[in-house]
């Protein structure tokens, strides 16, 4: 079953829409779904043109496609557990929060908090991701626990904050403090990073670009070769300030600047 939602033009296009009800499972019951625009309750058809192709009896067989200007539509895919969601353009904040299964593919850019507190499943963002990609929630000690987040573009600040499990793969560069408070999981940054892995407790972070403002409390422990990539990585242990036992590996040919 394919559900295509095309965003209608809105009178106040900058007001955020909260659409946590847009997950594949909810379309098993039809398209009578509620979304919110500011403090007003709206029906799905008020904000989207709806086209449904085929039927399904399980959420695994449902694909939801979003078209048009969805840059302000928040919480899409929240608590998603099965099925596929495709967003043709940009997507608003909190896409894929608490996701535990299924797949989300974003062709444009993702706003902040993509994949927050994810437990499973796969998110692929072709464009850039905003701040707090694959992070945790304020006050919690645990962030993303499982699943995979892959961003082909760049990510903003605090990417993979509190990463506890699962995998985060940024093909571009990260902003400030990527991997801060990390305590598990795998974090790969193909591009550059600034002040990565502050307060790291555990987990592994690999950076293939340039590290700017390397933090002073990481201890160099040696060199490791990665045969499948044919590169040598300088290996650091840290964050010593936090009694951390995490591993940060930085591609050797590009010296981290102080």
């Amino acid at each position: 079953m394919r559900v295509i939602l095309e965003a209608k033009a809105r009178k106040k296009p900058f007001l955020p829409v909260e659409a946590e009800s847009i997950i594949p499972r909810n379309f098993l019951k039809g398209t009578d779904i509620t979304v919110y625009e500011g403090n007003k309750e709206r029906r799905l058809e008020d904000l989207f043109w709806i086209f449904v192709e085929g039927t399904a009896v399980t959420p695994e067989k449902i694909e939801v496609v979003l078209k048009g200007d969805t840059s302000r539509v928040k919480r899409i895919g929240e608590y998603m557990d099965a099925g596929k969601m495709t967003i043709a353009g940009d997507v608003g904040m909190h896409c894929g929060n608490f996701m535990s299964g299924g797949e989300i593919e974003i062709f444009g850019n993702a706003d902040a908090w993509l994949g927050r507190e994810m437990r499973g499943g796969y998110i692929l963002c072709h464009g850039n991701a905003g701040h707090y990609c694959a992070s945790g929630y304020r006050g919690e000690k645990t962030g993303m626990r499982g699943g995979r987040v892959e961003v082909l573009g760049n990510a903003g600040d605090y990417c993979a904050e509190y990463l506890t499990g699962g995998e985060v793969h940024i093909h571009g560069s990260c902003g400030d403090m990527a991997g801060v408070e990390m305590k598990g999981g795998q974090f790969i940054i193909e591009g550059d990073a600034t002040r990565p892995c502050g307060n790291m407790k555990d987990g592994t972070c690999m950076i293939f670009g340039t590290v700017h403002q390397m933090l002073p409390t990481f201890e160099r422990t040696g060199i490791q070769e990665l045969p499948d990539r044919k590169v040598k990585m300088t290996v650091y242990k840290g964050d010593i300030a936090n009694r951390g036992k995490g591993v940060m590996m930085v591609k050797e040919t590009v010296r981290p600047d102080e």
């Binding site: 929630y137 304020r138 006050g139 919690e140 000690k141």
Partner: protein, 566 residues
């Protein structure tokens, strides 16, 4: 003139010796009366269990450190959120709910009076503001004196009258209700990052011992004829082997009052540990209860822990720091100049932890081994042991051995050797439950005289009607019905108004704040003592004139005046 008649109530009113009589209760203008006119509004209680409104004698719900707990826990706030509905405001929080959250949940459970466990005099205004935002329970404040500099000076000078005069001035200035001592002397030592390890350890720089502070304050309390006794959180909370400190402390207490206890020892579960390390910790509930059973001058409350996440928050700063060193959770600390301290840290009580299982058992043992239910009251030191919404489960456990056995079978294997819980057959009855959740509190707090905790004509019309038919339910086997029944009243009535019905609060609240004003002769009034004033202005960072809590903070204050024997 508003009149209300409750018909067919199955009443347990221990203070008046009523045990399960089916009767009518007449209410006029907020008080119980003999009868009302025909045509008054009628509520049919349908034979349901009807008790005086619940009284919590030790709960942390209002004030600086409670708000610290909320503030630093957005992850708890999002765990329990309700939207605005009818007369009910938005609420948030599960183990540290917002003030409206607390008030509605207490009301749903039939509670109409709450004693805030700890209020620092310097920050009393904050507590009173939160009292006004907890609108469905009458509130009272335990006022902290454990690290009070001028008290310690009086103790050092062995001047009980002076101590009493300071207490009198402080309580009336900040509209407090009772003397609270938390880790006496220890909170001052914590001002330097230290703690005390026995009640005979001298407080650094002040050279008085906790034993001296406790004894002096007990005497001062009785000189002032305060409604409640000294309310004590013993030294060495939470440390393996601390039962010895507790017993030694109990040994200090004389019997000075005919109407009530001379010492209220709070959350004693945390103070009843044998062994010497976390590895060999065991229950000493038997020794503690032996001491209490022989001493009518002591009343305690359980301090029951329940499994799950919760927040610890007490004035016991050093203890909270120790928890931080053990678990590395986020830790807040707030020492209050010249007065006391506090610490806040979240905690998880786990069935997999042997220590936690022993702690859980101890609380229940204390209640079951204390012969006189008036001497061991139900409390969890909310939220330290568990959020108060867990009280119904505790009631279920106390009334049913089968429930206890079922719970024990899910716990860490090793714990049974460390406690005697499995061998205790006692099952409390409805009358005893009514005592440990309201009648006992009313007597211990001296509030029966104010019309709380009982239902004789003249009493305040605070009632809870629970959807339980005592003859139809066997609490020993049908404990789930008991738990459910105590979770949500059919009706909660406060001062003659129905405030909650089946879980919905239906009116705006208008609670009262009870406080004491012990009058002392002018020559003892410390406000007239130039030395006292000089020291105040020199060492505090607020002016003495700005310290007292103004009338405006108690829109419906109920002042209990007493005459001091100085």
């Amino acid at each position: 003139m508003t009149e209300l008649l409750i018909k067919n109530a199955c009443v347990f009113d221990p203070l008046n010796g009523i045990r399960g009589d089916i009767m009518d209760i007449a209410i006029r203008d907020g008080r119980i009366v003999d009868s009302v006119r025909d045509g008054s509004e009628v509520i049919d209680a349908s034979g349901f269990l009807t008790l005086p409104g619940g009284i919590d004698s030790h709960s942390h719900v209002c004030g600086t450190k409670v708000n610290f707990g909320r503030y630093m826990s957005p992850e708890d706030m999002r765990a329990g959120r309700t939207a605005r509905r009818g007369k009910m405001h938005v609420t948030s929080g599960y183990y540290v709910p917002t003030t409206y959250g607390n008030s509605y949940r207490y009301s749903t459970m039939g509670y109409t009076t709450v004693l805030e466990g700890a209020m620092a005099p310097l920050e009393a205004r904050h507590t009173h503001e939160e009292f006004n935002a907890t609108p469905h329970q009458d509130m009272l404040a335990n006022t902290l004196f454990d690290g009070n500099w001028s008290i310690m000076e009086a103790v050092h000078a062995k001047d009980v009258k002076r101590a009493a005069a300071i207490v009198a001035w402080t309580l009336s200035s900040v509209r407090g209700f009772a003397i609270k001592l938390t880790n006496p002397g220890g909170t001052e030592a914590w001002g330097w990052g230290e703690d005390l390890t026995s009640i005979r350890d001298p407080v650094p720089n002040f050279n008085v011992t906790p034993a001296e502070i406790i004894s002096t304050m007990i005497s001062a309390n009785e000189l002032l004829h305060l409604p409640h006794s000294v309310h004590l959180h013993c030294n060495n909370l939470g440390k393996p082997g601390n039962y010895a400190t507790t017993l030694e402390t109990f040994g200090l207490v004389p019997d000075l009052n005919n109407n009530r206890q001379t010492l209220y020892a709070t959350h004693v579960q945390f103070h009843a540990y044998g062994g010497s390390t976390w590895r060999d910790i065991c229950s000493k509930a038997d020794e503690i209860t032996k001491s209490v059973n022989a001493r009518p001058q002591i009343v305690m409350d359980m301090g029951q822990i329940m499994f799950g996440r919760t927040m610890t928050m007490t004035a016991d700063g050093p203890m909270e720091f120790n928890l931080y060193c053990l678990h590395h959770n986020k830790w807040s600390n707030h020492d209050v100049e010249l007065e006391t301290g506090s610490g806040i840290i979240p905690v998880l009580y786990s069935k997999k932890s042997l220590v936690n299982c022993v702690m859980w058992a101890i609380g229940l043992e204390l209640a079951l081994l204390t012969k006189n239910p008036y001497q061991c009251l139900l409390a969890t030191d909310n939220p330290n042991g568990a959020p108060f919404v867990k009280y119904p489960e505790i009631i279920g456990l106390l009334m049913s051995k089968r429930y206890r056995d079922e719970e024990c079978s899910t716990l860490n294997n090793g714990f049974e050797q460390r406690t005697s819980i499995s061998s205790l057959d006692r099952e409390m009855d409805w009358n005893e439950i009514a005592i440990i959740t309201r009648a006992g509190q009313a007597r211990a707090l001296g509030l029966a005289a104010e019309g709380k905790g009982h239902l004789a004509p003249g009493a305040e019309a605070d009632l809870a009607i629970y959807p339980i038919r005592c003859d139809d339910v066997d609490p020993a086997t049908e404990y789930r019905n008991v738990v459910e029944g105590f979770q949500k009243t059919r009706f909660t009535i406060k001062r003659g108004r129905v405030v909650a019905r089946d879980g919905d609060v239906i009116v705006e609240g208008a609670n009262a704040t009870f406080w004491v004003n012990p009058t002392v002769p002018d020559e003892h009034n410390v406000a007239n003592d130039p030395e006292f004033v000089k020291k105040f202005e020199e060492y505090y960072t607020v002016r003495m004139g700005n310290y007292p809590v103004q009338d405006v903070y108690l829109p419906r204050g109920r002042c209990i005046k007493t005459e001091a024997d100085l």
